[in-house]
Assembly symmetry: C2
Homo-oligomer: 264 residues x 2
């Protein structure tokens, strides 16, 4: 492990840039994860890490020490005094360990299974929560339109809680074009009178779920592309849920139906 | 309408304090909502507003103009140049209208129906989303333990999208004591082998749902107080959902069951 103590160290400068700047991450094709939980998920998934950085107080924690021992020899490791670590961390409450790595490219092309298509979801917390829900509900592919936040930014990674390493994530996708190759039913949520209740439809087949940004909703062409509009029944006077909550209700209703129809 | 143009105006100073400081809000028993959507919800609910502040560009918007006309004469209205409005706004992208009001005290004491008990949920976005979901699923009472974020802070109000005006919210609650008066089933989520699948239990009766902070979970005494632990079935290898997503799945599964058992 190399000890870095100068704030002008070029590797440390790069780390700070990757932590703080979407542009730096895009240009270098690298990102930063924060915390032992995510590092453990990345190691479990066999993600190729470039660098691991630990704070001096972080090294002393057995949880972090054992993660360091799990890193392959190809991973460069660095230690930092706590104040420098805090400055380089992408989060307000630094957790003692960071890792630099290249976002995982989906190994599988878009094939069968359920898809989650997210249109212009810009809030990192919402986006990470949606990916976490999708992984837990067995979504086969997440597709993100160009207006979405960077899926691999530190904040989205943190909210995703490891989902990034379980779920193929396709960014900058032309969703209309991708749907041409989709063989299942395309479903959006909405309130029009013609909408079906989520609980009155059969979901035991492949579905591409469409969810849009808070407030704005789906782009008009995508909404028009839906084969079916569903409504989540709720108390009169309430018109909608947070996009993460709505997706959780829909995806887990489908998981419930598909599980009930299967080996359960 | 009074035009305020000095940044040292005492009423404007108070507005800034209420927007930015949890301590100011607590000491004065007042809070600030932001945006036409929330203002409309507050007016619909008959909330007593103390002040409404508009930016000069906000006054020109028909949506805001018509909301101003709906305000009773007892509401003091102020206009502000856009730069002063931005400084006084609790959010990064000011929407043109703010209102000062006292948090709505629950009119009903804790009576029958479903309860949502939130233990030390500190993230304002998560807390607001949870309240929004609870209102939509017909929860009768939301109970917040002392470790939760301020329910009526501007950020929680914004994420709640009007839920605050539909749902009795009880803050600083001793949940253990409150549960002594609860006649239904107390349910927490968890992963232990003895847990029931959410989809295999009958939820057509009053339930007090317990959800804890991200990461830490419920306090040990509250968890031990649960009559039943339920698990949301999910893909093996995924251990949990975001607390807002998990609550949405549980509360809407109950809503589905209670609706199916009723007049549907």
């Amino acid at each position: 492990m190399k000890a870095v103590s100068s704030r002008d160290n070029p590797r440390l400068k790069r780390l700070r840039g990757l932590s703080q700047s979407a542009k730096d991450r895009r240009q270098q094709g690298l990102t930063v994860l924060d915390g032992p939980h995510l590092l453990c998920s990345a190691l479990d998934a066999g993600v190729g890490l470039a660098e691991v950085w630990v704070s001096e107080s972080g090294i002393a924690r057995p949880e972090i020490e054992s993660l360091l021992r799990r890193c392959p020899d190809t991973v460069e490791t660095f230690s930092l005094p706590d104040p420098l670590f805090s400055q380089a961390s992408p989060v307000d409450s630094p957790s003692g360990v960071l890792a630099v790595f290249a976002p995982v490219q989906p190994l599988r092309t878009l094939d069968n299974g359920n898809w989650l298509i997210l249109d212009r979801v810009q809030d990192p917390g919402n986006l990470g929560t949606l990916l976490r829900t999708a992984a837990a509900a067995g979504i086969a592919h997440a597709l993100l339109t160009p207006g979405c936040a960077q899926a691999w930014s530190p904040r989205v990674l943190r909210a995703g809680m490891g989902a990034h390493f379980m779920l193929p994530i396709h960014e900058q996708v032309d969703a209309m074009a991708a749907l041409n190759a989709f063989g299942g039913e395309v479903i959006a949520t909405g309130l029009m009178p013609s909408a079906s209740s989520l609980y009155e439809i059969d979901l035991a087949h492949d579905v591409a779920w469409l969810f849009g940004a808070e407030g704005e909703g789906l782009s008009a062409p995508l909404f028009a592309r839906a084969d079916r509009i569903v409504t989540i029944p709720m108390i009169p006077g309430c018109e909608s849920l947070n996009v993460g909550a709505a997706a959780a209700v829909c995806l887990f209703e489908q998981y419930r139906q598909q599980r009930a129809g299967g080996s359960r």
